[in-house]
């Protein structure tokens, strides 16, 4: 439901602007007046929270870049200098480092929200795909940012992850090594590598910002999904303008999120990091355990679950690629998992699987951990490739409210009194 503009410029200046560059109209239509379903729950506040996170990362990042030196001989020291000597340097850096974790925490909840309520189903496929692209770009950005610290974990994470491409040697001899040396600009991770990672770490957040713009554009063409999955029919009774209703709600959610964020920044800034990254990079000594940041652990577990080098790399990238196809893998008639009596168990099984993979990613890949890692990796793919298409076909959805209005106001279709009552708040 593309939304008709209701903006009316009131002053001479806004009228003059409106016929030249209608940015005020655009902001009004998209940020103030946009009709938003009244029944959204708090899982819908993560979009605003994510925008807040991106803003925080860009602002703190630009400040960090004023003090950071991308040169292997001084990179590590420049960060220690920032932490100890620059006014509030510690605050800026901890906010940026914790901010990356908070960003991923929010994006994971946002993604699972989409999975639960079927927000990827038509007509929101492009919206979903843009989201997966943002997720990919975030992972690349965070990986590159972590390398800039030039601690032991930075160095060895870059070494191990860039070496993944060398697995292509088993497809075309020399291809993988060629790509890895091209990425490095040398025969090992070196100064040239650090510089290009810095350049790209600075660039990618702005690419993300552009993708976010497209994501919101796509959102405002199709309109929000909502917990019932029922399309918005009558904006007058079923929707409210974004401002002040959802700006206030999102603002409240951002404030709560900000409290948790601040708790980490001020009381446990290094809790989510790894102590080895306070040791300067040493190309001659590998730390005993190389562990990525927590938000990469599920993918790391998938990588290590497969006994072949190339196979592990394919599975790891496949775990993200499969997300692009979800709109076509899910055959269900119903959007929202609320009305899917069988699928709902599988949804929670997927959540458990992802948490378990995250736990296993931090454990050494041996014995029971390895077996468990393989089982959960298998389920991860089975969920998307088999459970989604099959359950969608065999499952009979529960009856659901005929409209958003029914679901909020409890009125309407008498054939579904139970559901309507349950939906009443």
């Amino acid at each position: 439901m593309a939304h008709q503009s209701t903006y009316e410029p009131k002053t001479a200046f806004t009228r003059w602007m409106d016929s030249r560059l209608p940015v005020i109209r655009m902001a009004y239509d998209n940020l103030l007046d946009f009709p938003t379903p009244r029944n959204l729950n708090y899982m819908w506040t993560f979009g605003g929270i994510l925008a807040f996170c991106l803003f925080v990362q860009i602002v703190t990042g630009i400040v960090l870049a004023m003090h950071y030196a991308a040169d292997t001989s001084v990179a590590f020291d420049s960060i220690e200098h920032l932490m100890r000597n620059v006014n509030y340097g510690w605050l800026i850096r901890y906010t940026h480092a914790v901010g990356a974790s908070m960003f991923f925490f929010a994006v994971y909840l946002h993604i699972f929200r989409g999975l639960y309520y079927g927000s990827y189903k038509p007509p929101r496929e492009i919206l979903w795909i843009l989201g997966v692209l943002i997720f990919l770009a975030m992972m690349a950005t965070a990986f590159m940012g972590y390398s800039l610290v030039w601690g032991q974990m930075s160095f060895w994470a870059v070494t191990v992850i860039t070496n993944l491409f060398s697995s292509l040697d088993s497809v075309v001899s020399g291809l993988g090594t060629g790509i890895v040396q091209w990425i490095w600009g040398g025969f090992a991770v070196n100064d040239a590598t650090l510089n290009r990672l810095f350049s790209l770490h600075y660039l990618l957040p702005f690419v993300i910002a552009g993708l976010v713009g497209l994501h919101i554009w796509a959102l405002h063409v199709t309109g929000n999904n909502n917990p019932t999955g029922v399309p918005l029919r009558d904006p007058k009774t079923e929707a409210l303008p974004f401002h002040p209703y959802f700006t206030a709600k999102d603002g409240f959610a951002i404030a709560v999120f900000g409290l948790i964020f601040a708790y980490f920044v001020f009381y446990m800034p290094n809790y989510l990091g790894h102590a080895d990254n306070y040791v300067e990079a040493n190309p001659l000594q590998t730390p005993p355990h190389i562990v990525p940041e927590w938000y990469f652990l599920p993918f790391y577990a998938i990588l290590r679950a497969i006994p072949s080098k190339l196979g592990g790399v394919i599975a790891m990238f496949g775990a993200i690629v499969v997300l692009f196809f979800i709109p076509w893998l899910d055959t269900a008639r119903e959007r929202s998992t609320r009305y899917r009596p069988i699928y709902k168990y599988f949804f929670w099984l997927l959540v458990v699987t992802c948490l378990a993979l995250g736990y296993l990613g931090a454990k050494p890949p041996e014995g029971g951990y390895l077996v468990a890692g393989r089982i959960f990796t298998a389920y991860y793919f089975i969920h998307f490739l088999i459970v989604m298409p099959v359950i969608g076909i065999i499952e009979t959805p529960k009856s659901r409210p005929q409209s958003i209005a029914d679901s909020i106001l409890g009125g309407g279709n008498s054939s579904q009194p139970a559901v309507a009552a349950a939906e009443k708040r």
Binding site: N163, F187, A188, P283, L284, Q285, P307, K309
Partner: protein, 191 residues
Amino acid sequence: MASTTDDPVTRRDFIHVAATAFAGVGAAAMLWPLVDQMNPDATALSLASIEVDLSPIDTGQAITVMWRGKPIFIRNRTPEEVEAAKAVQMDELKDPVARILGETVQEPATDEALTKSGYEQWLVAVGICTHLGCIPKGQRIGDERGPFGGWFCPCHGSAYDTAGRIRLGPAPTNLEVPPYEFLSDTRIRIG
């Protein structure tokens, strides 16, 4: 010029196609420098060779030197280690090919192929695990060397034998041997 009235392909169409193609080729040609600038540069390539004095390394000891930004393991193997490496049959190996850098013909990974004749006690290999690039343990006395007595990679558990051949774990290939030669009995040049 042919008449343009009945011929649907006009002179202007031709100019359009030619101009666009020309601009396309130009853009593609500019792409290559942008890609190639990322490859190892002249200074990286110029660090191509180093000389190493072997005289301080006693039997059973090993040192690590840097060549092209990579650690190179040089081990003065004990006679037992050499014997153990020679006794291995090719069909026991996970990777039966000698990974000698710059070598185009593939030879079986016998101990003879991996060392220089007359200097069998010296093993020279790139000290980078062929799995995902960690530095295997085993250079220092007291390091864990894994079940085959060579090197052991702590990252994902790859074990190499005393000739640097992969015997167990996820690494797909043997440790690489850099190009090197003996200048005298106690001096080598790598690269």
